[in-house]
């Protein structure tokens, strides 16, 4: 064989080996520093797709948390059905999911610890959160969970200022105006999860290569563009495919939508319903820190609607404001996210837990 052939063969060997070593080192780094990926399973009893129970999620891109997935999509508790005593279900989106903090720091776990310290009766709070969900989803699932989990005494719905309007979703509760009437329907999730996809995710998890799944998702959602462009008037050019239209429904829509869902929720369950609202307070805007809720008008109307239907509405605005004034800190945000923005930090979860303990203690 010629010298150049040997040279190129040696080069190929060096580069393949180098690639393999780099990949191993990178996997080790990701095992520590990158979000993990878990497969989903369909649970027919509650008609939901949930992360596979028993697995642990590692969250790094905001906060630094570990979450143990339990049965029925409840985090931090292996099987809520096996827990004796009364239960309170905490419904919410990623704020209840709270992947940014460890399990003991989540609202539900802090509630359970505080309750045990201060009360003799057994009461367990279980979080049924999933990122992107909304009141329109909880009104559907609450009656279903009541049938599956024994001794549910109350539903607590976690609301916050970052709530978006009731947009049509591929999966979940949807609202629509039909003339003057609002109609509601629920798009169920698919019942079958590809076993090939689950096995692939498990394989990648085992070797610390979860990041490949995130890359695959990024590529799947990438908006390819090869056509010529046309920029708008701007000082800094922004490529068209990165512009996302921002659509907000008007205040009437929010108000009427909430009113409709509150009525439906009250009609579909006889358990106690509590709404707990975490405003984005304090917040930073144009060089100043503000401690008044920007959504106060809408919240006032939702509070009224709740009152009319016998639902307790707990507003955390004063609690958050007092916390900020006393400590100079925000109940939101982490060192690896923008200050005063993002999800609740452990202190924020503790404030919510304390408020809920106080509320249910009075209900004895």
């Amino acid at each position: 064989m010629s010298k150049s052939f040997h040279f190129y063969l040696k080069l190929l060997f060096i580069w393949i080996t180098g690639f393999a070593i780099a990949l191993i080192l990178f996997c080790l780094l990701c095992l520590f520093c990158h979000n993990s990926m878990e497969p989903n399973v369909y649970v027919p009893e509650v008609e939901r797709l949930i992360p596979e129970p028993g697995l642990e999620h590692r969250h790094r891109h905001e906060g630094w948390g570990k979450t143990q997935y339990g049965e029925l999509g409840v985090y931090g508790i292996e099987d809520i059905r096996q827990v004796p005593g009364d239960k309170v279900l905490l419904w919410g989106d990623s704020y209840v999911e709270a992947l940014e903090v460890n399990d003991p720091e989540k609202t539900t776990m802090q509630f359970n610890e505080l309750w045990k310290e201060k009360n003799k009766t057994a009461l367990t709070c279980a979080g049924v959160g999933a990122s992107g969900t909304h009141l329109a989803d909880y009104v559907h699932y609450a009656p279903i969970y009541e049938k599956v989990i024994p001794d549910v005494k109350a539903h607590v719905v976690f609301l916050h200022s970052d709530m978006v309007g009731f947009k049509d979703k591929k999966v979940g509760g949807c609202l629509k105006y039909d003339g003057d009437q609002i109609s509601y329907w629920f798009n169920p999730p698919r019942k079958h999860v590809s076993s090939r996809k689950s096995k692939l995710i498990e394989f990648l998890r085992f070797f610390g290569m979860d990041f490949l799944w995130w890359i695959y998702n990024d590529l799947r959602n990438y908006n390819w563009r090869f056509t010529l462009g046309r920029s708008g008037v701007t000082d800094i050019p922004v490529l068209p495919q990165f512009k996302k239209p921002h659509r907000m429904k008007n205040a009437d829509w929010h108000r009427n939508g909430y009113d409709f869902l509150i009525k439906k929720f009250r009609a579909d369950t006889d358990k106690e319903i509590v709404f707990i609202y975490a405003p984005h307070v304090p917040y930073i805007h144009e060089g100043k820190i503000y401690d008044q809720d920007r959504s106060a008008e809408l919240i006032k109307e939702i509070t009224e609607s709740c009152k009319q239907h016998g639902i307790t509405f707990i507003n955390m605005e004063k609690t958050f404001r007092d916390y900020y004034l006393k400590t100079g800190k925000s109940p939101r945000g982490f060192p690896n996210s923008r200050p005063f923005m993002g999800h609740l930090n452990p202190e924020g979860h503790r404030l919510i837990a304390e408020k809920l303990v106080e509320h249910f203690k009075d209900k004895k």
């Binding site: 080996t17 180098g18 080192l25 891109h61 462009g229 490529l239 144009e286």
Partner: protein
């Protein structure tokens, strides 16, 4: 189109394959020119017309300059070229700035001023300077006239350096077009190596630093003094990593295609004085300003007072080149003042200032230079004078406020500091990554994985896109 976009990789691979397969020089250059126009039109096809205007005017000006020895005619031709190029810049980049700046002066006299809704064409500051350098060099007879329109058009529009430099001189680039491209393994490796390093600097270092710097600069009044100090250091490293990273991607892309571009940055933050800083920072622009502005104004040949005026004028215009705002001009002025003060220090030859050790002089020089550069960056970044003064006040008074030290920014700042120290201790020798050493693929692939996985989720255009 950005270098960090997937579309760019697809386009580039196609170009490399075509260039590799097609050996005829004319066809290769045509492919590169079409690709370059597509690259620019990807942002906004309407502004291709400006590149075509600049190309046509300077090409024909060059031809006419080559045909006449009459001094007056040559001056007129040069004037036309400079007028057209600066005219394009003036209208598209500076019109609204000048109008708004002088509105307060003009309005009492009955002049009505109105702004235009003008899109700032990307790269206009770069390609106009590039074509002007050609005409000026031809006028000075330092460069032969380019008689080939295809060569000249490609020199103006060559996509790796079209939108954000480096500003490549015709004398360096056009001769490289005389021979056909051969896609060679060593060129591919060198180019890919430089490209990956540039991509790593831009996506992993600069964009992650931006996640910290942007919120701090948006709201300086709420953050503490130490946070503001850390943010300005982070910004200094961000703009360096962003711009040098982009330049390296441009240089790497060109290298893969067989073109050699000069380095545009040379570790500027190790500079021990301001002259050295400008020999290391945005080298293609600083050398352009030196050759086509500072030296023609007289440089340092007409006495100290004139030298200071020339320095100040050059740096003020250099600041204006960066952006249509008084803060950029002020930033340039600060550097001009610093260079002038350095001249005074050098002239007076402060020998006995209590620092006898060369090492200590170096440290003091570095500290003064770095601190001054940091202060100047505040004006560059803060967008208004009010915010700049507020920022500096809170920084130097160590005001109280929210303390935030974004962990990724801390890691990057420490890492870049170590890299700089290593570079200095190694006598400015760069890390060698030869193709046949296993360390090379380990480092390069690791960097690539970091780019792919640890890129920030928000989109960050190159900082210098706005210039």
């Amino acid at each position: 189109m950005l270098f960090s976009q997937l579309e760019y990789f697809v386009l580039f691979v196609i170009i490399v394959i075509l260039i590799g397969v097609i050996r005829k020089n004319v066809i290769q250059k045509t492919i590169l020119l079409v690709a370059s126009y597509y690259f620019y039109a990807y942002w906004d096809w309407r502004f291709l017309s400006l590149i075509l205007i600049s190309t046509a005017v300077d090409y024909f000006t060059g031809l006419l300059l080559g045909k006449t020895e009459n001094t007056r005619k040559r001056k007129i031709l040069l004037f036309i070229s400079v007028l057209v190029n600066l005219g394009l810049l003036g209208v598209f980049k500076y019109y609204n700035f000048f109008i708004s700046s002088f509105a307060d002066v003009l309005t009492p006299f009955g002049f009505k001023t109105g702004s235009l809704e003008i899109i700032l064409p990307i790269g206009i500051s770069f390609y106009t300077f590039q074509t002007m350098s050609y005409t000026i060099d031809v006028y000075r007879k330092k460069l032969d006239v380019c008689h080939n329109l295809l060569d000249f058009a490609l020199f103006v529009a060559f996509f790796p350096q079209l939108v954000a430099g480096p500003i490549v001189r015709a004398a360096h680039f056009i001769p490289q077009l005389k021979r056909p491209r051969h896609i060679h393994l060593l060129n591919i490796y060198c180019g890919v190596r430089i490209f990956i390093m540039g991509l790593f600097k831009k996506v992993v270092l600069a964009d992650n630093l931006a996640s910290f710097v942007d919120p701090v600069f948006e709201n300086p009044s709420v953050f503490s003094g130490p946070t503001l100090w850390f943010a300005i250091i982070a910004y200094a490293l961000q703009i360096y990593a962003d711009f040098s990273g982009y330049s390296e991607m441009a240089i790497g892309s060109a290298r893969i295609l067989g073109f050699v571009f000069p380095r545009n940055f040379n570790m500027p933050y190790i500079a021990k004085n301001f002259s050295e800083f400008w020999q290391r920072w945005h080298i293609s622009l600083s050398s352009w300003l030196r050759d086509y502005l500072y030296i023609p104004l007289g440089g340092n040949r007409k006495g100290p007072s004139r030298t200071f005026i020339n320095l100040m004028l050059t740096m003020l215009l250099g600041g204006l080149w960066h952006g249509a705002a008084w803060t950029f001009i002020f930033w340039g002025g600060l550097h001009g003042a610093a260079l002038s003060i350095q001249r005074v220090v050098d002239m007076v030859k402060f020998k006995n200032v209590g620092i006898s050790s060369k090492f200590m002089k170096g440290i003091v020089g570095w500290a003064v230079t770095f601190l001054t550069v940091l202060i100047a960056w505040v004006f560059f970044r803060a967008q208004t004078f009010e915010k700049s003064i507020l920022y500096l006040k809170r920084m130097f008074l160590m005001s109280s406020g929210i303390s935030w030290f974004y962990p990724m920014a801390v890691i990057i700042v420490i890492g870049m500091f170590i890299a700089h120290v290593f570079f200095v201790l190694n006598h400015e020798k760069r890390l060698k990554l030869p193709i046949n050493n296993i360390i090379s693929p380990i480092i390069l692939f690791f960097m690539l994985f970091l780019v792919i996985v640890f890129h920030p989720t928000s989109f960050n255009p190159f900082i210098y896109f706005q210039f």
